[in-house]
C-alpha cells in the first residue's frame, strides 16, 4: 500500500466522521464545520485514489483546487447567512421558535 492509498483511507474516515457530525450536530456553525471536514475527506479520496500508483497526477489536484474554492464560497455564504439569521432571530439552530411571525 503506497502512502497515497493511506491518504485515501484517511479521507474515507474523515467522510464518515464529517457525515456523523453533519447529521447529529444541531448548532449551525458546527454543522458547517462538519461539512468542511467531509469536504476535506472527499478531496483526500479524490487525490489519494488517483495517485495510488505513486506518481503525481495533476488533474485531480487541479480539480481539488477548484473544489476548495467552491467550498470556500459556499462556506462563506453559509457563514454570512448564519450570522444574519442569528442576529435577526437570536437562534443558532434551525428549530422553529414558538412564536413565529407569520409572513
Amino acid at each position: 500500500m503506497t502512502s497515497s492509498l493511506l491518504y485515501a483511507f484517511a479521507g474515507v474516515a474523515l467522510c464518515g466522521i464529517g457525515l456523523f457530525g453533519f447529521i447529529r450536530l444541531r448548532h449551525l456553525l458546527r454543522k458547517l464545520m462538519a461539512f468542511n471536514l467531509m469536504g476535506s475527506g472527499v478531496f483526500l479520496v479524490m487525490v489519494g485514489l488517483a495517485q495510488r500508483q505513486g506518481e503525481p497526477d495533476p488533474v485531480p489536484q487541479a480539480l481539488v483546487l477548484t473544489g476548495i474554492v467552491v467550498a470556500i464560497a459556499a462556506t462563506a455564504l453559509a457563514v454570512v447567512l448564519i450570522r444574519r439569521y442569528y442576529h435577526l432571530s437570536g437562534q443558532t439552530t434551525l428549530d422553529e421558535s414558538p412564536k413565529e411571525p407569520s409572513q
Binding site: 472527499v42 479520496v45 485514489l49 439569521y85
Partner: protein, 489 residues
C-alpha cells in the same frame, strides 16, 4: 455559425451577470430585457441547427476530452436550453414588474438571475462529470442567494436549510466522481460509458453510482429527502419560486437521468431502480396529500412540486433492463413531464404571486371573492392545474400516457396505480384553491389589481403547457436525431 451560437450561448448569461451587477434595479431590468431577447434567439438558433444537422460534441478551449472539457449538444440538451430560455425569460419579465424598485437590495436579483441561467445551461449541455459538479454549485448558490434576498429570519432559515441540503448533495455527487475517476482515469461521461460497456459491472463503480444518485435525489427533493423544498419555495418571492420549482430541481434530475441512461444498465441494479421508483410513487401520494392540507397558498404549490417530482423518478425502473422501445417511451414520457411541469409550475407560482398581491395575504382562506376581481390569474392557475392533473390535451396527459404504455410494456403494472392516483390527488388540491376563491361571504371588497402584464405572463405559460400535448410529436422527434459518436476518446 454553430461556433458563434455556442459562444453566444455560453458567453451571454455570464456577461449579463457582470453588466447587471454594476447597475441598479431599473437599468438592470432594461439590460436584462435585451439579454433575454438575445438568449432566446441564440437558444432558438441552436435548436434549429441541431434539429437540422443532428447533435455534436463541442470541445471547449479546443482540447479534446479526456484532456479537456467537452459539451454534449444533442436533441435533449437543446430542448432543455430552449425550455430554460422560455421559462427564465417569462420569470425575469414577471420579476421586473413584480419586484419593488425602491428596495435597493433588489438590484442584486439580476446578477443572481443571470448566473442561475448560466449554471442551468452548463448542466443541460454538460458532458464532463466535474464540470457538471461546478454547474450544480453555480445553480445552488445563486438559488440560495435568490431565496435569501430580502433577509427576514424565516427566509434565512429556509435559505440555510436549502444551502445545507444542496451542499450535502453536491458532496455526495463529488465523492462518486472521485471514485469513478480513480477507477477509469477519465472524467468524460461518453468515455466512461464506453469503458463500462466493455468491462461490465464493477462493485466499486456501483457504489459510486449509488452515492451520486443519493446526492442528486437529495438536490431534487425526492421523498424522504424533500424537507428543504417547501420552506424554500414557499417563502421566496414568486418569480424566484417559479424559477426554482420549474428549472432548478430539474437540473439535478437531468444529471441523474443522464448518468442512469449511460451507466445504469451495467452499474445499477433492479433493487436500486425499483427503490427509486417506489420513493417517487410515495412522493406523488404524500406530496399531494400534504398539499391538500396546507393553509398557505404558496405552500400548496410547493408541496405540489414535491408530488410532481415523484413522477420523474419513474424513469429509473422503466428504463432499467427494458427493451429499446419501452425505454424510449419512458424517456419521452419523462421529457414531456419535465417540460410540461416546468411550464405549468412556473405559471402556477406566478399566478399565485398575482393572487397574493391582490388580496394582500398568502392564506388560502383569504382568497375568498378573488374570482370576481382577478379571474384571469385564477384561470391561469386552473389551466396549469389541468396539466398537473393530466387531462387531455395537456402536456401532462401526453407524458402520463407514454409512461402508462411504458409501464405496461415492461410488465411493471404497479406504476399504473401511482399514475392514476396522482392525477386524482392533484385535482384535490387544485379544486380546493378554486373552492376557496369562489366563496362569496367575505366582507373584503378592496382588491389591489396588479398590472396587466403580470397577468398575461402566467397565462402564456399555462397555455403553452396545455398545448404541449398537441405539439408533442415535433418536440419529441428531436430526441431521436442522429448524434455523432466518438466523444471522450
Amino acid at each position: 455559425m454553430t461556433l458563434w451560437l455556442m459562444a453566444g450561448l455560453l458567453f451571454t448569461p455570464l456577461a449579463w451577470a457582470v453588466l447587471t451587477l454594476l447597475m441598479d434595479f431599473r437599468k438592470g431590468r432594461v439590460v436584462t430585457w435585451l439579454g433575454m431577447l438575445v438568449q432566446l434567439l441564440v437558444s432558438l438558433g441552436l435548436w434549429a441547427v441541431v434539429a437540422g444537422d443532428g447533435g455534436f460534441h463541442y470541445a471547449l478551449g479546443g482540447w479534446q476530452a479526456p484532456l479537456g472539457i467537452e459539451l454534449r449538444v444533442d436533441g435533449l440538451a437543446v430542448t432543455f436550453v430552449l425550455l430554460t430560455a422560455l421559462v427564465a425569460a417569462a420569470c425575469g419579465w414577471h420579476a421586473s414588474i413584480y419586484l419593488d424598485p425602491a428596495k435597493s437590495w433588489h438590484r442584486y436579483f439580476w446578477p443572481l438571475y443571470w448566473f442561475l441561467w448560466a449554471g442551468l445551461n452548463a448542466v443541460w449541455l454538460g458532458g464532463d462529470l466535474f464540470n457538471l459538479y461546478v454547474g450544480l454549485e453555480l445553480i445552488s448558490l445563486s438559488a440560495v442567494g435568490l431565496v435569501a434576498l430580502g433577509g427576514q429570519a424565516a427566509a434565512l432559515r429556509a435559505a440555510i436549510r436549502y444551502l445545507l441540503a444542496a451542499l450535502l448533495g453536491s458532496l455526495a455527487y463529488l465523492l462518486g466522481v472521485a471514485l469513478i475517476y480513480g477507477q477509469s482515469g477519465s472524467l468524460s461521461l461518453a468515455g466512461i460509458a464506453r469503458l463500462t460497456e466493455q468491462s461490465g459491472g464493477d462493485p466499486g463503480l456501483a457504489f459510486a453510482l449509488m452515492l451520486m444518485m443519493f446526492g442528486l435525489a437529495l438536490k431534487t427533493a425526492l421523498f424522504p429527502l424533500h424537507r428543504w423544498l417547501p420552506p424554500a419555495h414557499g417563502i421566496a418571492k414568486s418569480p424566484v419560486s417559479a424559477l426554482l420549482s420549474a428549472l432548478v430541481v430539474k437540473a439535478s434530475f437531468y444529471i441523474a437521468a443522464r448518468l442512469w441512461l449511460e451507466l445504469g444498465d451495467e452499474l445499477g441494479s433492479y433493487a436500486l431502480a425499483q427503490g427509486m421508483g417506489l420513493l417517487g410513487g410515495t412522493a406523488v401520494i404524500w406530496g399531494s396529500w400534504r398539499a391538500f392540507l396546507q393553509p398557505k397558498l404558496k405552500q400548496v404549490v410547493a408541496y405540489s412540486s414535491v408530488a410532481q417530482i415523484g413522477y420523474l423518478f419513474l424513469l429509473f425502473p422503466l428504463t432499467w433492463g427494458a427493451s429499446e422501445a419501452v425505454s424510449m417511451q419512458a424517456q419521452q414520457g419523462i421529457t414531456l413531464q419535465v417540460i410540461s411541469h416546468a411550464l405549468a409550475k412556473a405559471a402556477m407560482f406566478l399566478a399565485a404571486g398575482n393572487l397574493i398581491m391582490s388580496v394582500g395575504s398568502n392564506r388560502v382562506e383569504a382568497l375568498a371573492g378573488v374570482s370576481r376581481f382577478l379571474p384571469f390569474s385564477l384561470f391561469s392557475f386552473g389551466l396549469a392545474g389541468v396539466s398537473l392533473m393530466g387531462l387531455p390535451p395537456s402536456g401532462g396527459f401526453a407524458a402520463k400516457w407514454l409512461l402508462l404504455q411504458a409501464s405496461l410494456g415492461s410488465g411493471q403494472w404497479w406504476w399504473l396505480v401511482v399514475l392514476l392516483l396522482g392525477g386524482l390527488l392533484s385535482a384535490g388540491y387544485v379544486f380546493r384553491i378554486y373552492r376557496a376563491s369562489f366563496v362569496e361571504d367575505s366582507d373584503i371588497d378592496h382588491f389591489y389589481h396588479p398590472p396587466r402584464s403580470l397577468e398575461v405572463i402566467p397565462m402564456i405559460l399555462a397555455l403553452l403547457s396545455l398545448g404541449l400535448g398537441l405539439a408533442a410529436e415535433s418536440v419529441l422527434s428531436i430526441m431521436a436525431l442522429p448524434f455523432e459518436e466518438g466523444g471522450g476518446v
